[in-house]
Symmetry: C2
Subunit: 84 residues, 2 copies
């Protein structure tokens, strides 16, 4: 099995109102040192091994479903899991 960790983040140039709201709440809690908050998604996929190109498959899934390429970037890490 493979465990794939995907990080989806808004592009730098895109405003992040959710992050701004969280920052505002942190300031109200007294955390005045916080200068910026950006919020993204973190996905863990478990994939069966098989006769396929793993990178190609991940790029396909990320660009077609898991992220919006117009406003988001993604990166991923792959771990091989030995069946227990």
């Amino acid at each position: 099995m493979y465990k794939v960790k995907v990080y989806v983040t808004l592009r730098e140039s895109v405003l992040d109102p959710q992050g701004k709201a969280v920052m505002s709440s942190l300031h109200k809690m007294g955390q005045s040192e916080v200068e910026d908050v950006r919020i993204g998604k973190y996905l863990e996929l478990t994939l069966q091994k098989g006769n396929y190109d793993l990178d190609e498959k991940i790029v396909n899934m990320c660009s077609k479903l898991l992220s919006n390429p117009v406003i988001e970037d993604y990166r991923y890490e792959v771990e091989e899991v030995v069946a227990q």
Copy 2:
């Protein structure tokens, strides 16, 4: 400045209907090798340096606002950023 990356994930024992929906969509796209999807949050915080305990501050923010300790776990990484 510090750049803090926070990963918030649902605890193993908690059902993830959003993940199940994404998995179902991936299967419909023909990605039958996907066995499980879990979805979490990824946050990037930028903090000013100061006279405070960074770990204590992050734990405080994560446990009180950024995650729900009843159903979620979190982990974090800290990078020190040199002003440009």
